[in-house]
Symmetry: D2
Subunit: 350 residues, 4 copies
Amino acid sequence: MIKAGIIGATGYAGGELVRLLMGHKNAEIKWYGSKSYIDQRYADVYRNMFQVVEDVCKDDNIRELSRQVDVIFTATPQGFLASVLDEDILSAAKVIDLSADYRIKDVATYEKWYGIQHQSPQLIGEAVYGLCERNREAIKKARLVANPGCYPTCSILSVFPLLAEGLIDPATLIIDAKSGTSGAGRGAKVANLYCEVNENIKAYGVAGHRHTPEIEEQLSYAAGCPVVLNFTPHLVPMNRGILVTAYASLKETDGELPTPEQVRSAYRKYYDGERFVRLLPEGVCPETKWVEGSNYVDVNFKIDPRTKRVIMMGAMDNLVKGAAGQAVQNMNLMFGERESEGLELVPMFP
Amino acid sequence: MIKAGIIGATGYAGGELVRLLMGHKNAEIKWYGSKSYIDQRYADVYRNMFQVVEDVCKDDNIRELSRQVDVIFTATPQGFLASVLDEDILSAAKVIDLSADYRIKDVATYEKWYGIQHQSPQLIGEAVYGLCERNREAIKKARLVANPGCYPTCSILSVFPLLAEGLIDPATLIIDAKSGTSGAGRGAKVANLYCEVNENIKAYGVAGHRHTPEIEEQLSYAAGCPVVLNFTPHLVPMNRGILVTAYASLKETDGELPTPEQVRSAYRKYYDGERFVRLLPEGVCPETKWVEGSNYVDVNFKIDPRTKRVIMMGAMDNLVKGAAGQAVQNMNLMFGERESEGLELVPMFP
Amino acid sequence: MIKAGIIGATGYAGGELVRLLMGHKNAEIKWYGSKSYIDQRYADVYRNMFQVVEDVCKDDNIRELSRQVDVIFTATPQGFLASVLDEDILSAAKVIDLSADYRIKDVATYEKWYGIQHQSPQLIGEAVYGLCERNREAIKKARLVANPGCYPTCSILSVFPLLAEGLIDPATLIIDAKSGTSGAGRGAKVANLYCEVNENIKAYGVAGHRHTPEIEEQLSYAAGCPVVLNFTPHLVPMNRGILVTAYASLKETDGELPTPEQVRSAYRKYYDGERFVRLLPEGVCPETKWVEGSNYVDVNFKIDPRTKRVIMMGAMDNLVKGAAGQAVQNMNLMFGERESEGLELVPMFP
Amino acid sequence: MIKAGIIGATGYAGGELVRLLMGHKNAEIKWYGSKSYIDQRYADVYRNMFQVVEDVCKDDNIRELSRQVDVIFTATPQGFLASVLDEDILSAAKVIDLSADYRIKDVATYEKWYGIQHQSPQLIGEAVYGLCERNREAIKKARLVANPGCYPTCSILSVFPLLAEGLIDPATLIIDAKSGTSGAGRGAKVANLYCEVNENIKAYGVAGHRHTPEIEEQLSYAAGCPVVLNFTPHLVPMNRGILVTAYASLKETDGELPTPEQVRSAYRKYYDGERFVRLLPEGVCPETKWVEGSNYVDVNFKIDPRTKRVIMMGAMDNLVKGAAGQAVQNMNLMFGERESEGLELVPMFP
């Protein structure tokens, strides 16, 4: 039985982690960390957990926690983990970080986009970027996993096979993403009130969203060259779900565009056998509702011969594959569990 | 392994049944019946099931179906099952009917409220009303279970303990219920279009909704006398969930109202040990979101000493405990499975 | 041209007041009071007002304000106006108060339900309860109008004709109300976040909501005897709208229930000629969407001969007839304007 | 007083036209045409119109209608108007067509994208594309106005100034658009049911949506060269609103990108003085909620120096500026009315 602790258990991602771990056969939560709700019953914060979780919330003492558990999940604000993590903790427990602290290899890039000084840059090298479909073997051996951001997970999985196979021109890549509101967190802000979000859609963080360098770094690995792209997130009036619509110019070979079959083959090369990536049938566009509550990412594409571009699409649940689900998938890999344990959730519709 | 067949597998309740049975260790679906989608892949109708269900939809041949499976679920329009069910079928397979055909013991009442002539009244006597918390032992032995309606399930479980314990006056009972839109089904009607339902709330079926006699019959058993009540359903702009707010005058004993403790004891008498009914802590009102996706019913109450009434409240997911979840719970009872098998779902929030 | 000032201009009711007054031919806003946004442009707080309102928000100096305008609207927290209002101000400008400070005639009742000591009880007697359809003549002569609460407006208008005509038993009255989320205000609270409200419905303030004594007082006037009732509000996932579903036992005369025609006549007696109350055709239930954005209240009823009760229903926009629209209607009456000036808005659908 | 007739008065755009014309000082509706609801009261189809519209729906006899009115609005399926319009009708009444029949100058392009043979190609030349901000003078003299599509209106107004001023490379233009569900019409289809749209977002018509050639044609005029682009619409769970996010590479001059001031000047050149286009302050992204119910289009942009692209954004209400509002604006121009008459609506928030 894997003993798990969560720091930041009362945010939306933390809550989803609890939901998923409750259904995991070989894991149990030993520590519900939540600075804001210390000594309060967890089920009083999330009443869906009434009679499911009996524990009380604890403080964020990660050192103490590392003595008591096998794995620590941190669903904390940027900078927290970097400021407390050290070899002592890492040698006592494995860490899966849902924040951005160890996702970006270049410290300067992290510090520029996040506006924070990194407190433990010496650990960045060791951290494995926890996109399971890309880094499975490294994750299995890792002590510290940087769980990918929600937008990056969906963006990378929608796009990378075509980059990796050289079918698209990296310089033309544009990612237009749409997210449900749980991605904005549970903080009490006017902008996230029901009446402000409902019946509304807007872009935000245009040309400056922090997930941009993370997406670029990972796609650069796939492309084998630096990728600089536009990433525009939008806030959508729904609880869960991210949809990515990405655009790129197809590369011609001898004056010929790649055929749909060639593009499809590129996706299949990487996703055949992947339990959680579903390449949809031809002509079917991904919809967030079809994956809600599950760890699936649905992807598909459409070639536009008029503009010689391909439109790449992906849909997933931002709290599952985009956060807690992927964290559990990483845990499974790190502890030799079946990769899909606790994650065999059928999407809920409607 | 229990072999199951579903007639009406492509309605919302049918779809939920598929979702739940996919997570059941000892059941497998052998027949996806859907008149409207014969020969189409089930996963083309419900894309959440892509790579989960590989089967194709079949016609509604219940006789043939009864030879192939152990249990038949019918999620069909009123009158369908009554027109085809007979001893031959019932001796081949158990039947759990999600329609109203066998819920009401008095044929005249059924025919009056539903405006249909009952085609197999001789089977009504045998049918067991499948409200597990009330009729557990009878269900275990039943061949034919009438799965309760969504509103009745929530209404009865919110109210019956106080009636059974004689704490409230049956003549004063009023049930004001609110339901998400999946309860209206997947039929293509203007009234159920997104733009007609969204940003809107209305009462419907006022003083005439078909679930009224079902609620009255079951509450009459609990009260030990005929109960006639007002039941008013409302359509709420959300996918899932039923909330019941019920009102009744408290009975005084020697000029004293029952205390909150006495009322709480009445609920506890019936619900202590019940896996799927959660009596909430004092002062906490049920919310549909806290049970979404799960088989729970959350109940609670508030005494108003000024009016000498008690307000009884209940919340559940109309597609789970109000339909497919309860159907699986009934199946578990009928086949000697653990009652909660396949139903240990933690509610999804947000 | 009526010069108007608003204190509390950046709450949802304040914002709606601005929207409505922009369309009023003979009124202009001279003062946008907002403690939270002093010196900020109003259009930066509510961007719908970009290029519509050029003003900057000012402090809440009501004395100064009273010298500059003809009418002051206060859309402020309970207790504010009572703590600052005096004869000096009232002799300089008329006041329409959207808070509860002067709605309840009995100070003890106010202080008990609101938990505040009333700072200017000497002015309560002068204040006119601004339900235009009830107190039109008194409003015309008033200096101080207590604009009714949202729930009370819809509840009273749905119910009072039957009480006034002696058709129902006041002791049996139960009001089950449902409101959109703008009624909860623009304060940054976790409970009002999009993800907490969306896909959810709950009762709140059960047997203790502050609008209860206001409803009771006004209905007592109509009934000619004290009315004590149950009032249960619910929070619905939509921006605007209140729906009231009220229940009462019909009074029999010589063993006969009132006929539908008699009940309809009671409504017509009070509402024929009323511009903003629409008695719907027989059998049509009010829906909040049909009145959204307008000053209408739609009402109707249904008799249940089985239980000898009548179900009374009303729908309105909580921010218009339930707050800002009624305030403008009151202003029109107080200043001799056409009562519907600025309020002839066709409801927006969808 | 302008006498107006509507064919297709019971679709969502037709309903909005009625709402707007009710507030127009110099127009009155003489004919509510609706094939589906002939002889039914209009207010029974749209209950918001109860006591507002007393008329009954009539058949689609456009010839007869042209004798009775000054202007005919057609909010009808593609191909209808083209199949009935002739010189006889046009000489009797002006026509504003909300369908696509006369929007595209090249018949072959129309026929290819719409899959319909055009029945009156001889009238295409005369038709004026009714984008008021572009073709004001021609509209004033027109007998036949092709009211622009919803997506094209928002797309063109967001993008054309930069094309016209040569600031962006037309070959790189990508338009990612998001629309509320009223754009899908009031037809009873499973895909538009509440439960299918709610909590969901998807792309549709990818690389094949019919508004593409309309956008391309108009932008070609602005650019002075053929424009071929990608246009991807998405369905968003809200009633109203279109948001456009458009991407293009900036053209460098002497190795320098245009400055934000230069880009802003390009917008100001075309929009200063435009009543219904609001260029937002720097850094403020358009949101659909801020224009809901009004005829405004809010636009803004952001330069990304990293990718040398500009992100252009626009938001409007698809039923107002995207359909009925623009139709009224066209009517005002054609009849010498003040252009904003009936359209001075303050957006409704929340």
